[in-house]
């Protein structure tokens, strides 16, 4: 199995979810994160002092799927998350050795 870990724009979450759902991929875990790619930083200020802020809000989705589904999932995410502008995000594929359902104890590898 593989974990498909995608970092996307927060405003694209709904689209991505729907697109994946329509392909039958429902189960997922979602997390709000911050990230930067190659963008420049932004200068912040607090009562006269200045500081750099360069991390922008992103959404991290991960789905653990069968090896043969990886390509479909990746394709679906790319299509639904893309705007063509900087900041669209990245997808990483990570090997998963085992997946266990807590409710039943059953597992897949």
């Amino acid at each position: 199995m593989k974990m498909v870990l995608a970092i996307i724009r927060p405003e694209k979450l709904e689209d991505v979810k729907k697109a994946l759902e329509s392909k039958g991929f429902v189960a997922m875990t979602v997390n709000e994160v911050k990230g930067r790619g190659e963008q420049k930083g932004i200068t912040l200020q607090f009562r006269g002092r200045t500081m750099e802020v360069d991390l922008l809000p992103k959404v991290e989705i991960f789905m653990v799927v069968k090896d043969e589904d990886v390509d479909t999932v990746v394709d679906t995410i790319i299509k639904s998350a893309r705007t063509g502008r900087y900041g669209d995000g990245k997808i990483f594929i990570i090997p998963v050795e085992k997946s266990i359902r807590i409710r039943t104890g059953e597992f897949e590898t």
């Binding site: 405003e11 932004i42 200068t43 200045t50 809000p57």
Partner: protein
């Protein structure tokens, strides 16, 4: 001078002052997290800028000696002739009346920020605000409360149905059209980032409205008491209407309920000194329905008047101003409406409403256009994307 009346207006001034940050919180809860500070800060800027502007010259424009029924002269420039003694016909210090009125100017501008939420350049808003108070708000005050042409015509506006709500509501609509939709509006949902904050803001508004409508009696008497009663009842009824309607259509959302309350408050504002509790119930009922429809219409038309100043204040204020002509009763004050056999008042109200709606929309549109052309009303795409908190204020709301 009457110390009881003075005590009440001192407090009412503080109450109305608190409404402006109340608007800030009310609005800020409904925007995205990245614009939370900006939304509250706009309200604080309204306090600061209009506060100064008012004592320098805007009070004089509003209440100075009448010039052609349209505007006041500069006799009160820098508060000259505004003393600690009561003005003619009043029982409270003149300077107290001045600051009580100031708070109305402040909040009216704060209501308008609905239209530019999440995309306005702060500098441009400051300039727009100064112009708007000068060319829209001060004239309206003069027309209706400063012995201007609408007052002479017999039109009534107890606590600002036209002066405050029509002006800011239709102003917001014009402003929204000029500034344009938020990036992504209609494409993806922009969820309110902190609903408890909106409910807190709404509660502060509700609280402050006691001073807003009750204080407009300018005395601590039966009229003030009647005003707070009809104000509260109308807000409850309109809140109940929104609750029921949103229940029928799905679930009774808290934002619906509190919006209904505000709609009721806006609608009763012009009428609070003229109608009794039965009138208040009628006004609240119709306000609830009309404003709900207006909001729905606005959404369906894809107009990004983002936080619904138009649907709630604009339409609420319009309806309430007309309703004065229907429900005014001599049991409360010296005026009678259509239901009590007098058609003249309704006519005056219709003229006043039409005039203020058109003037507010057109002049605001022109002012916004001028500011937009001269300095740009709107931040860049990139700034809008990272949010106004960072791009305009260099701050992050929560960490």
């Amino acid at each position: 001078m009457n110390s009881g009346d003075t005590a009440w207006i001192l407090v009412a001034t503080a109450l109305v002052m608190l409404m402006t940050p109340g608007v800030g919180l009310f609005y800020a809860g409904m925007v995205r997290r990245k614009n939370a500070i900006a939304m509250i800060t706009l309200s604080i800027i309204c306090l600061i800028v209009v506060g100064i502007q008012w004592v320098v010259y805007a009070y004089s424009l509003a209440f100075g000696n009448d010039v052609a029924g349209f505007i006041g002269d500069l006799s009160y420039f820098m508060l000259n002739n505004v003393g600690l003694e009561p003005a003619k016909g009043m029982t409270i210090p003149h300077i107290l009346f001045m600051i009580y009125q100031m708070m109305f100017a402040v909040i009216t501008l704060a209501i308008i920020t609905s239209a530019v939420a999440e995309r306005v350049k702060v500098s441009a808003f400051v300039v727009f605000g100064i112009l708007w108070i000068t060319f829209v708000y001060a004239p309206f005050v003069h027309w209706l409360w400063g012995n201007g042409w609408l007052a002479k015509l017999g039109a009534l506006d107890f606590a600002g149905g036209m002066v405050v709500h029509v002006s800011s509501g239709f102003g917001a609509l014009a402003l929204a059209l000029v500034i344009g939709k938020r990036m992504g509006f209609g494409e993806y949902s922009m969820e309110p980032h902190n609903i408890p904050m909106t409910l807190l803001g709404g509660a502060l508004l509700w609280f402050g409205w006691f001073g807003f409508n009750g204080g407009s009696a300018l005395a601590a008497n039966g009229l003030a008491a009647n005003a707070i009663v009809v104000t509260f009842v109308a807000s409850c009824v309109a809140g109940a209407v929104w609750m029921i309607v949103s229940w029928i259509k799905g679930k009774p959302g808290s934002l619906s309920i509190i919006s209904g309350v505000i709609a009721g408050l806006a609608a009763i504002t012009p009428a609070a000194g003229f109608v009794d509790v039965k009138g208040a119930i009628a006004i609240g009922l119709v306000a609830g329905i009309l404003c709900y429809i207006a909001l729905d219409f606005r959404v369906r038309k894809g107009i990004d008047e983002s936080l619904d100043a138009w649907a709630i204040h604009g339409i609420g204020g319009t309806w309430g101003s007309l309703a004065v002509g229907l429900f005014a009763t001599k049991a409360v004050n010296d005026y009678a409406g259509l239901l009590y056999g007098n058609v003249a008042l309704l006519k005056a109200q219709i003229i006043a409403v039409v005039a203020t709606v058109i003037y507010a929309f057109v002049v605001t549109f022109i002012l916004a256009k001028i500011v937009d052309v001269v300095m740009g009303l709107r931040v860049s795409h990139e700034e809008e994307y990272v949010g106004l908190d960072i791009s305009q204020h260099g701050e992050v709301a929560y960490s």
